[in-house]
């Protein structure tokens, strides 16, 4: 009979440390200057702490020192890839406070521009999402199409990214004569490329494997975290401000709200968020087509612009459906020509805060995909 030997092992010494990895501020897939402090157990993410503020310009403080019209260029620079959509809630908030009714033509041009910019934004979102998953080619196809949209913006407004085009009560200038044909050509082109993208990326087996069942965001968590836009709709909630409380003239158009249905995985996974963006592009195309058809040819786009933008004393919170979610502006006016307080409720800011919740327990490679599926712009998060 052998003698039993007891060996003293201090098991607490065996436990290995978790690795802390700083992803960013300079990293290929943090979409800007975001720093994620990631705690890794092997390759498994156990915790994520986002550190933001690297692009902080104190927009809100600047806005308090500018008059209402001068704030618009700063609003452009919040979400710099969908500036038209940023300007819309700001100017509409001021208009509502002042009780200005803008001409029909202005409304139509605003809607067309906003929807074009929504398409451009979703193109970037899907392209960079594919890039995060390692697909490089769809990225360039989508960027090529986005370029055509930017050409229209350039012709109409003079700017490619930052427009200062929507003014309180009107537009900076009227659109150019061949605007309608150009826009309809874009719509055709977008649809054509989207067919390619659908085959090349969206229904690619590897892409589905990478994104389905990853980063599942249940509907109740999404609501509680204040997620909006494709994040919320990806979780299966058909909430779109354009339908829920139609602003501008969105009640005149016939379009659907795409939601995540869990076609290839669970409802609310990365693939669902992506497909919502993808299908929204088609809906935007439909809105643009209807708007082009109904748009009046004549009309002065500057007739309602007030001589001096000086809203009465009061406050307003106005929100619009930005491509990334609900963009709201909370404006307090004290009756002077400078706003007393402007707060921008940035959709990316709120959407990003859910990242730690949905990325725990997934692999490190998944974290990048999840981050890509949120579709953030740091200019908006840091303001």
């Amino acid at each position: 009979m052998t003698e039993t030997k007891f060996v003293d092992i201090d098991f607490s010494r065996i436990e290995t440390d978790r690795m802390r990895l700083n992803v960013g501020p300079q990293h290929p897939s943090t979409h800007g200057v975001l720093r994620l402090e990631v705690e890794l157990d092997g390759e498994v993410v156990t915790n994520v702490i986002p550190h933001i503020g690297y692009l902080h310009r104190c927009f809100e403080k600047i806005a308090e020192n500018m008059n209402y019209q001068q704030v618009i260029p700063y609003v452009d620079r919040m979400d710099y890839i969908s500036s038209m959509n940023n300007e819309l809630p700001y100017v509409m908030a001021v208009e509502k406070l002042m009780g200005i009714k803008v001409p029909e033509k202005v409304e139509y041009i605003r809607v067309i521009m906003a929807e074009l910019n929504r398409i451009a934004n979703h193109q970037i979102a899907i392209a960079t999402f594919g890039l995060d998953a390692g697909a490089f080619t769809p990225f360039l196809y989508l960027f090529r199409d986005r370029e055509y949209i930017l050409w229209i913006f350039e012709k109409a407004t003079g700017g490619r990214l930052l427009f200062n085009y929507f003014w309180v009560g009107g537009l900076a200038n009227d659109v150019y004569p061949t605007f309608k044909e150009d826009v309809l050509n874009i719509v055709k082109q977008v649809r054509k490329t989207n067919k390619d993208i659908e085959e090349l990326l969206i229904y690619n087996k590897i892409f589905i494997d990478r994104t389905a069942n990853v980063g599942v965001l249940p509907a109740d968590v999404a609501i509680n975290y204040g997620c909006s836009g494709p994040m919320l709709r990806g979780s299966g909630i058909p909430f779109d401000l354009r339908k829920a409380e139609p602003y501008s003239i969105y009640d005149r158009f016939d379009f659907e709200i795409p939601v995540g249905k869990g076609e290839v995985g669970t409802v609310g996974d990365c693939w669902d968020r992506n497909i919502v963006r993808f299908r929204e592009m088609e809906q935007s195309c439909r809105i643009i087509e209807q708007a082009i058809e109904q748009m009046p040819d004549s009309g002065d786009v500057q007739s309602a612009i007030p001589k001096k933008v000086r809203p009465p004393k009061g406050e307003i919170y106005f929100r619009c459906e930005n491509p990334k979610g609900e963009l709201g502006f909370y404006i307090i006016s004290d009756g002077k020509d400078k706003p007393y307080r402007v707060k921008g409720r940035a959709p990316s800011f709120v959407n990003l805060s859910v990242l730690p919740e949905i990325s725990r327990g997934y692999l490190f490679a998944d974290l990048i995909v999840i981050l890509g599926s949120i579709d953030i712009v740091l200019g908006e998060i840091d303001r």
């Binding site: 690795m19 990895l21 990293h27 290929p28 897939s29 390759e43 594919g130 890039l131 995060d132 998953a133 390692g134 697909a135 490089f136 080619t137 360039l140 196809y141 090529r144 090349l200 990326l201 690619n204 590897i206 892409f207 494997d209 990478r210 692999l363 490190f364 490679a365 998944d366 974290l367 990048i368």
Partner: protein, 350 residues
């Protein structure tokens, strides 16, 4: 067709012929790497509807040269806290591993740098050398991304060597030899004699044709994983690991990694060519065969495989690390085993 080393015949079996036999593949490798880099740039541009580099030389054909000159000029950085010896050694280990593989590649009937009768075994064994260099470089860089990349790379290469080895084993069973020249010679006489289509023999080989085709696909996939090419480039997965195991390398050391990658691409393409596509033999029997035609066919076939690798890289997204393991162990390995068994059975029966 008789096989021999043309330099030994011309100059005798002396140091000079040996030196030429070593230097010729190196010169070939450098020229090939430049062409492959240009090919990668231009093919990716063509796939993505771009022009690619257009400024350096006519249609940008001097771009790889410009890149090499740029890399030579760059400052050589060794990160603080890195293990200097291993850090400096790693790129050369990787390159040596891949270059050593060229020793047994039969470029044509009359030229194999070193003719040994276990060439296939040797090339496979030496190919596994690269993982040592990658782990060395990844660990010595003192960078977490590099370490993660090196770890991924080690697990990935070892996993994919097993299905790859089974494919080679099946080919060896079919050819009854590990000598690359012998395997090539067996497939002479037209493309229907290639091992891709069951190898030479009577009509009874029709039974194993599906398995040999499957084996060649398995080897293509496994070779992509072994050379860390998309969709299996997770050790250097740009979007998550920045550049993986070579994050900290710059200048010529980075160029060595780059060089080794392209060299590895050619080696796996050469193995696939020799084992399944008849090596330097003409696909049309005696038509278009001969010394120079042999060189042409070999390089043409190998470059076609390299083209396929580039093509896949610019088409597919990247798989995840666990999916890669799943594919290696649960899909490729069982299929390779079944094919191996069927081919062995065929050899026993016929």
């Amino acid at each position: 067709m008789e096989t021999f080393n043309v330099f030994e015949r011309l100059l005798g079996e002396n140091i000079l012929s040996a030196a030429i036999s070593v230097l010729l593949p190196l010169v070939f490798l450098i020229i090939y790497a430049l062409i492959a880099i240009l090919g990668e740039l231009k093919i990716s541009a063509w796939i993505q509807e771009r022009l690619g580099p257009m400024r350096t030389g006519p249609y940008g054909i001097l771009q790889p040269l410009a890149e090499v000159i740029k890399l030579i000029q760059k400052e050589d950085i060794v990160p603080a806290g890195a293990n200097k010896l291993l850090f400096n050694l790693a790129p050369y280990v990787i390159f040596a591993g891949s270059f050593a593989g060229f020793a047994v590649i039969p470029f044509t009937a009359a030229f194999v740098p070193a003719e040994i009768n276990i060439g296939l075994f040797y090339i496979f064994a030496i190919g596994a050398f690269a993982v040592i260099g990658i782990v060395m470089g990844g660990w010595a860089s003192n960078n977490k991304y590099s370490l993660l990349g090196a770890m991924r790379s080690a697990s990935q290469m070892i996993s994919y060597e097993i299905p790859g080895a089974l494919v080679i084993l099946s080919a060896a069973v079919l050819a009854n030899s590990l000598d690359m020249q012998k395997i090539t010679l067996l497939q002479a006489g037209g493309f229907w004699n290639w091992f891709l289509f069951g190898g030479p023999g009577s009509w009874s080989k029709i039974w194993i044709v599906p398995f040999t085709i499957l084996l060649s696909i398995i080897y293509l996939i496994a070779s992509l994983a072994e050379t860390n090419r998309t969709p299996f480039d997770i050790p250097e997965g740009e979007s998550e690991l920045v550049a993986g195991y070579h994050t900290e390398y710059s200048g010529m050391k980075f160029a060595m990694f780059f060089f080794a990658e392209y060299s590895n691409m050619f080696i796996v393409a050469a193995i696939l060519t020799v084992v399944f596509l008849g090596g330097w033999t003409s696909p049309f029997g005696d038509f278009m065969s001969g010394f120079w035609w042999g060189v042409f066919w070999f390089i043409f076939k190998a470059m076609f495989i390299v083209f396929v690798q580039i093509w896949l890289r610019w088409t597919l997204p990247r798989v995840r690390v666990d999916q890669l393991m799943y594919l290696g162990w649960k899909v490729l390995l069982p299929f390779a085993l079944v094919c191996f068994m069927m081919i062995s059975l065929y050899r026993i029966i016929y």
